[in-house]
């Protein structure tokens, strides 16, 4: 896990000034909260005093976070200790008295953090905030979750009324630094079985960041109407669990009964648990190319970087 990666660790509405929340990136626990000016703050979720999780503490009116154990209080931006309430009177604390801060960027309804506090803000954070959203803790590792998304999305995502076929309109390839494929889909209404169908009514386009696995999904019909668009942000969390945040939006033009039905109930879901029997026997197909493509993208970026430098 490289230090300079930006992870979408929360949806904007999950981070408030009322109660800090805990997330993790791999083994790194992180506490998030919103300060009095509305900025999201991120520190290591470990008080440097006696290692208690800061997420068990509270957000003060000043916007600082106070540890729930002995009340040590930290500034969110720098991580510096600003107060030990039991030490009465004005105190000055040396700079080593601080919790580890992380860089934060908020956009498109996602809160992204980078473990390198000095990292430059992410290049193109999504600007539009898609209205539908959710969070799921999936008991599958980040790597395997993304591989399953490439090989059979049915194991990890459910779009209302959509059946994913094994047939691709375009195989996994690099496009603008992302891993992209487009899969033919059918409506779950009476139809010829996929192997005997000449044409398919809808497709699902998947565009995945090679490192974070952050994925843009586009469900389109054969008249090129966008029926649903979504961003899915998987983050490798503790114990091999993947925390997935997503946001989605229905297309405004959705001809046909099944496409209209998308607008009722729950159009989009991440499945919280994975069918182990189906996963174990899932034939790797698109995911086989992913490793080679990631390597290719990495070397392109390195070359571009060298030219720039």
């Amino acid at each position: 896990m490289t230090e300079d990666v930006w992870w979408a660790v929360a949806r904007s509405e999950e981070v408030t000034g009322d109660k800090p929340i805990n997330i993790d990136i791999g083994d790194q626990p992180v506490v998030l909260w919103r300060d009095k000016d509305g900025f999201v703050r991120a520190l290591e979720d470990r008080c440097p005093h006696r290692r208690a999780p800061l997420s068990l503490g509270c957000v003060l009116a000043s916007g600082a976070i106070q540890c729930g154990y002995h009340g040590w209080t930290y500034d969110g931006e720098s991580g510096r200790l600003v107060d030990i309430p039991n030490l009465k009177g004005e105190q000055k604390y040396p700079p080593i008295y601080r919790a580890v801060p992380f860089a934060v960027s908020e956009g498109g309804g996602f809160v992204r953090i980078c473990l390198n506090a000095k990292a430059a803000a992410p290049v193109s954070p999504t600007t539009e905030t898609l209205p539908l959203s959710g969070t799921e803790n999936v008991s599958l590792s980040h790597e395997h979750l993304i591989a399953a998304l490439f090989d059979d999305p049915a194991l990890v995502i459910a779009i209302k009324g959509v059946h994913y076929t094994p047939y691709l309109m375009s195989e996994l390839a690099e496009q603008n630094g992302k891993l992209v494929l487009e899969r033919s889909c059918q409506w779950k209404s009476p139809h010829w079985p996929a192997p005997f169908s000449s044409d398919f009514p809808i497709t699902l386009r998947i565009g995945t960041d090679p490192v974070t696995g952050e994925t843009d999904l586009l469900l389109r019909d054969n008249a090129f109407n966008t029926l649903l668009s979504a961003t899915v942000a998987p983050v490798p969390a503790a114990r091999g669990v993947t925390q997935v945040r997503w946001r989605a939006k229905l297309g405004s033009t959705r001809p046909g009964l099944m496409a209209k039905m998308l607008g009722f109930g729950t159009p989009f879901r991440i499945l919280p648990s994975v069918n182990g029997a189906a996963l174990r026997t899932l034939k790797p197909s698109a995911s086989i190319h992913a490793a080679a493509l990631r390597e290719e993208i990495r070397s392109h970026q390195a070359a571009a970087h060298n030219v720039a430098a």
Binding site: P48, R51, Y69, H70, P85, N86, L87, K88
Partner: protein, 354 residues
């Protein structure tokens, strides 16, 4: 882990606290409480009432202790009497698999260590518990902590945490003045905290009949290092004194059992506080657990990053250093008690029998 090396008790013993401050700081910061297993100590493994004819099972660092009564006398053995194939007897029990046992203060105490060194002189002094026990059951209880015992004791001896974690029971951090003093010898550490005009403990306000908004507080925590047992004595004015015995038995290196005794016989029979205060342990211990439970795995292995400290952490730091010094001494084969733990400590804790 459980072997007994008993050699040369007479070795040089330097006060680990008064010595070189760099050594002191190093001991504070190399604190890995899970690695400390002290031997040759009495552990209060059960309230007397809990030991009956049918064997009850207890552990100290996973070492099995079965407790029951034979003709009314408490006994402790390494094997269950129904165990027909006892194997791998340790050196901690005698040829018959029996441990040294004492019954005092309403507890059954068992010796963990070399049985030859078991001596009633090493039983901690607890001035406000009657020698013969017999406290009513509502003053006794059991709570458990999902953490290593030294973390529970470090939590106890540092009372600034109470103002945040237990504010709804014992009052918040608002007060005019706080003074902390620490006394120690090689086997004990005693912390005295005096608070001037502190917010009244809500439990005393609601149930203890205390009417004023502030009170003067003197709290004493005294830990018997080897036995992992603590005295928590509080004097409140106005208000009633709180007389708690708080033993932290390390059942395993990462789990702690607390069979407490809160002697409230000093409180008027008509005062609800007498019955409710002992029950506060259930709430307070859960609050402590929210912190010590996530803390514990973070202290299981050596850490390269040092903990940060404030002047209020003096007692906790000294506790770490004294525990480390005892462990080092035992690692050298020195198990002798250099200070007397059974001498009456009333004066040290400021207990006047009332």
């Amino acid at each position: 882990m459980l072997d007994i090396k008993d050699t040369a008790p007479e070795q040089d013993f330097a006060d680990p606290i008064a010595g070189d401050p760099r050594n002191f700081a190093a001991a504070v910061n190399n604190w890995v409480p899970h690695d400390i297993v002290l031997k040759d100590a009495w552990f209060p493994l059960a309230h007397s009432f809990a030991v009956v004819d049918k064997p009850a099972r207890r552990s100290v660092y996973s070492q099995p202790f079965y407790l029951w009564r034979e003709n009314g006398v408490a006994v402790a053995a390494e094997f269950h009497p129904n165990d027909t194939d006892p194997t791998d007897k340790s050196d901690f029990s005698d040829a018959a698999g029996r441990y040294p046992v004492l019954e005092h203060y309403g507890y059954v105490w068992c010796w963990f260590g070399n049985p030859a060194n078991a001596d009633p002189a090493h039983l901690p002094s607890i001035p406000y518990l009657p020698a013969e026990g017999n406290l009513p059951k509502h003053m006794l209880g059991t709570v458990r902590f999902d953490c290593t015992a030294p973390l529970s004791l470090e939590n106890l001896i540092d009372l600034t945490h109470a103002d945040f974690l237990h504010a709804d029971v014992v009052g918040d951090e608002k007060m005019d003045k706080e003074v902390v003093e620490v006394f120690y010898d090689s086997e004990t550490i005693t912390m005295v905290r005096r608070c001037t005009n502190k917010s009244v403990a809500p439990i005393m306000k609601w149930f203890g009949g205390v009417k004023s908004d502030v009170q003067q507080v003197r709290q004493v925590i005294r830990i018997y290092l080897r036995s992992h047992a603590a005295i928590a004595y509080g004097r409140f004015s106005p208000g009633d004194n709180v007389q708690l015995f708080h033993p932290c038995v390390p059942e395993t290196r990462d789990r702690t059992r607390l069979d407490y005794a809160m002697n409230t016989s000093n409180v008027k029979k008509s005062n609800l506080f007498r019955y409710l205060m002992p029950k506060a342990s259930y709430k307070v211990s859960r609050q402590d657990s929210t912190m010590t439970s996530p803390q514990s795995p973070r202290y299981m292995n050596p850490e390269t990053r040092k903990d940060l400290h404030s002047p209020l952490d003096e007692a906790g730091q000294k506790y770490r250093v004294l525990m480390t010094a005892l462990a080092e001494r035992q690692a050298r084969g020195d198990f002798a008690y250099r200070d007397n733990v059974s001498a009456d400590c009333s004066e040290i804790i400021g207990y006047d029998g009332k």
